[in-house]
Symmetry: C2
Subunit: 513 residues, 2 copies
């Protein structure tokens, strides 16, 4: 517990959204900057959320036939250089190891110049090149395929402007790297893993996403096709939450990985790669949290229920603590993670404030009156706001006094309700800030206005026009959505809002993180 955090107020979203984001992270003790340029420290509460995410994702990867492995984090420079597009894409953000020893010199520790490496090593920004060098040993014939491997790892992409969770020099992620005998199979795999990500985003994170393809200019360096999921944050900006790439034979060619196909011919192997990272914690914060701090979907909450005993006298203290212990035990027996906050010297109000800021979905208050009446006071972290409702009314609605047995039986259903309502609320926000746009004037008005968001537009411009247009409005084509991802009213062909050329379907444009 960082005592200084208690005193930090959260800047309201309406005042300064960027500062609000940082305040929520600080108050919830999720992460902080480190003295190492661009690198963050993920604090225990933030890491506990990441562990929950990892478990959910890993189970899904294994259920779809993948296994985990671990590859070196150092990549010889010549390996990275093998795939030209790839090298060009990552060259400007690589941490490079050039020496392997320090020495003492005039009482100072310095790099030993005699320890210079013959070939510099790059700290992996992503692992395609080192993994495909290994796959060469493992793949001889179609019988060795598909090869379905995932890795949980840290990666480094040197960043000049960093933002906690969203963009840091070092971050944690998983990267799947699969090898296939046919292009069709590989594309199917890349699409399957995008579906896994979308399922995780919606059903675990409670963040609705749009699935689609990136435009050529936004593709992963070395990919034939990049699929992505895009979420909308509360400020209407898009956040790319996961990508899945069909790599064709590009990496197999650069690492010379061939296999004997069923027809007895040598052929280059087809590849995919796919990843999500600690960036997802940023998405979680920006989708659900409020001016009181972090809001977590129950499925990712490290603590489901916090119990705060309330007392004045010593007799009241021992009575309420005893009951709190019993309630905690009964909830734990239901498989829930329960925190009993029995700290001395901290007022109940301060405890409420702290656990709300940390996003615990449900609080149970137990005071002498509750004991006398055989009831419990349940307070949910959030509810769907009603139009025109005052903060005081909302606080009242969040609180329920229930007979003890009924209260204990209602905890799980209430968590499920909150999980569902978070997704509903996020869907409603997205709907409210999405617009079907047919003209440049309308587009300009939408993005110059106070509540920009997702714009569904017809586009048929060239890559150059796409870049120029993006710069002009600070927007980008987030994806070319799969047809079933387009809202019914936005479906069908039309004409490009810039060029007037025919377009077969709308794309998704937005500002983005």
């Amino acid at each position: 517990m960082n005592p200084s955090a208690e005193q930090t107020p959260v800047t309201p979203r309406s005042v300064d959204y960027a500062q609000w984001y940082l305040d929520v992270i600080k108050r919830a003790e999720l992460a902080e900057h480190s003295p190492v340029r661009g690198c963050m420290v993920i604090r225990p509460h933030g890491y506990a959320i990441w562990e929950k995410m990892q478990r959910e994702l890993d189970d899904r990867f294994k259920a779809t036939g993948h296994v985990n492995a671990y590859f070196p984090m150092f990549i010889p420079l010549s390996f990275l250089a093998r795939e030209e597009q790839h090298a060009a894409g990552f060259a400007k953000e690589c941490a490079v190891v050039t020496h392997y020893r320090l020495k003492s010199q005039n009482g100072e520790v310095v790099v030993d110049p005699d320890s210079k490496l013959e070939e510099p090593l790059v700290v992996r920004p992503t692992s395609e090149t080192i993994i495909w060098a290994q796959y060469k040993n493992w793949i001889q014939s179609y019988r060795d395929l598909p090869l379905l491997i995932n890795q949980w790892a840290n990666v480094v992409r040197w960043e000049m402007r960093t933002r906690l969770f969203l963009r840091t020099t070092e971050f944690l992620w998983q990267e799947g790297h699969t090898a296939h005998a046919t292009a069709e199979e590989a594309i199917e795999e890349a699409r399957r893993m995008l579906d896994v990500y979308a399922d995780f985003a919606e059903n675990v994170m409670a963040v609705p996403v749009i699935k689609g393809c990136k435009t050529p200019g936004e593709r992963f360096a070395g990919a034939v096709e990049t699929y992505c999921i895009e979420g909308m944050m509360q400020d209407g900006k898009a956040l790319q939450m996961g990508t899945s790439h069909y790599l064709g034979q590009n990496f197999a060619k650069s690492a010379d990985v061939t296999f004997l196909n069923r027809q007895g011919q040598r052929e280059y192997v087809y590849a995919t790669s796919w990843g999500v990272s600690t960036r997802l914690i940023g998405a979680l914060i920006m989708t659900h949290s409020d001016d009181n701090g972090l809001v977590l979907p129950p499925k990712l909450a490290p603590i489901h229920v916090v119990i705060v005993p309330i007392f004045k006298t010593d007799t009241e203290k021992s009575r309420t603590l005893e009951e709190a212990g019993r309630v905690a035990a009964e909830l734990r027996a239901q498989g829930l993670t329960v925190k009993l906050d029995d700290r001395d010297g901290i007022m109940p109000g301060a405890k409420f404030y702290e656990w709300e800021a940390k996003g615990v979905p449900l609080r149970i208050e137990i005071g002498p009156k509750d004991l006398d009446q055989g009831s419990l006071c349940l307070v949910r972290r959030f509810l769907i706001e009603q139009p025109g409702e005052s903060a005081a009314d909302q606080r009242k609605r969040r609180k329920q006094f229930l007979p003890r047995a009924e209260a204990l039986a209602s905890v799980r259903p209430l968590l499920e309700t909150m999980q569902r309502e978070l997704l509903e609320r996020a869907r409603a926000l997205r709907a409210a800030r999405s617009r079907i746009i047919n003209s440049l004037a309308e587009f300009e008005e939408f993005f110059r206005g106070d509540t920009p968001g997702f714009a569904w537009v017809h586009w048929a411009g060239s890559p150059e026009q796409e870049e120029e247009f993006g710069k002009r409005f600070e927007t980008s084509i987030r994806c070319i959505p799969f047809p079933d991802q387009i809202p019914p009213a936005a479906q069908g062909p039309g004409t490009c809002l810039l060029t007037g050329q025919p377009s077969s379907q709308r794309v998704l444009m937005a500002r983005a993180y």
Copy 2:
């Protein structure tokens, strides 16, 4: 599946123990060298064992009140230099990042000299210095203590002579870093975590260990006291399997971390750190495996049971496969991990061979005869050898034909038996190769002989004599054991076998990995 692995025979231990170790790893597809100097690739089967270890350890860390977090892998050179002993200890094996960008030059990718860092970054060899820099922000008073944090991470210690799992430039580990208000509490924590490691080693890995302190010369760089657990490998050599350090106030001083104690005085914080690594997989291999390949304790086996259907005709095939599917489902319902090997085109014998090499504890063979008789054939991976028993007799004893229901009911008890017997066998081996030694002549004979092992000796030499003695016999003091770790017959005071000086208790000497 690496087809080439199937053809690799395992060199018998009696012929070449070092080669046997490499062969087991290759045949079981646990790991292999990568093209990056000193770095290994942990293959899926090896990584699955590590995941099992992680889960078991992590549960134990959490049960003792620890939480996980993540700190940057880059450490500014000046941070590492702050603790003098520590810097000196790690200086010779540090990977150093000096640049952050590549560029194209005459069609080649090279390090961009303009991207030189003002201060070089060291890839963490261990994280005390970077973590204590952060603890400075988190600790103000005794109320913030203890701080009990663990990190799962990769670390780098540049190695010239590497050995898969045992010694590699990059390896995976966990590192606990705790902060305490008193020396007593910190020492208690360091001892507690050593007990956690010992419990894990014996009750999960089935490797008996001796707990004790390192001599000053073998201490962790920067520690006041280093506790360790030492196991014996099948060749009689010791392997340090885990260490737990009491760091006193050394790191708090170098990072200037003080707290207000209960008496209202500022004081430096007391620290511990403790770690185990992927090296434990090496210990597992060298303790239990045999000339047929890997042997795994059931608690760490990624697959508990492999089912191999045996058939000649198509009718037999469909009958046995159907029964194999039912048996697999029934065992999975027991919570076991089951592999049904229904691959076409591979003879049952080859499958037996493959899964034995991979250490699957139990095989169930299902043929038409078993179906007709309503029985199943259970084959255990290993048993405790009887003196003078032939290989053929042993094979026979490993195999049991049991009525179906009885067979299914006996799987779990059989796995438990094997778990217990592996520990018993390892204990017996250790006992057979441990010797109470009272004279230099005896010591010399023991270590010049064919079956050296653990020597219990009285020692009262100086650090210089310790080093010289170690070089002479290629042995080292593995630890000064805690008194209860010394075999009854070896307890009590005596005189140093080198100097004749009085010694209060025996130490453990051995050759070591």
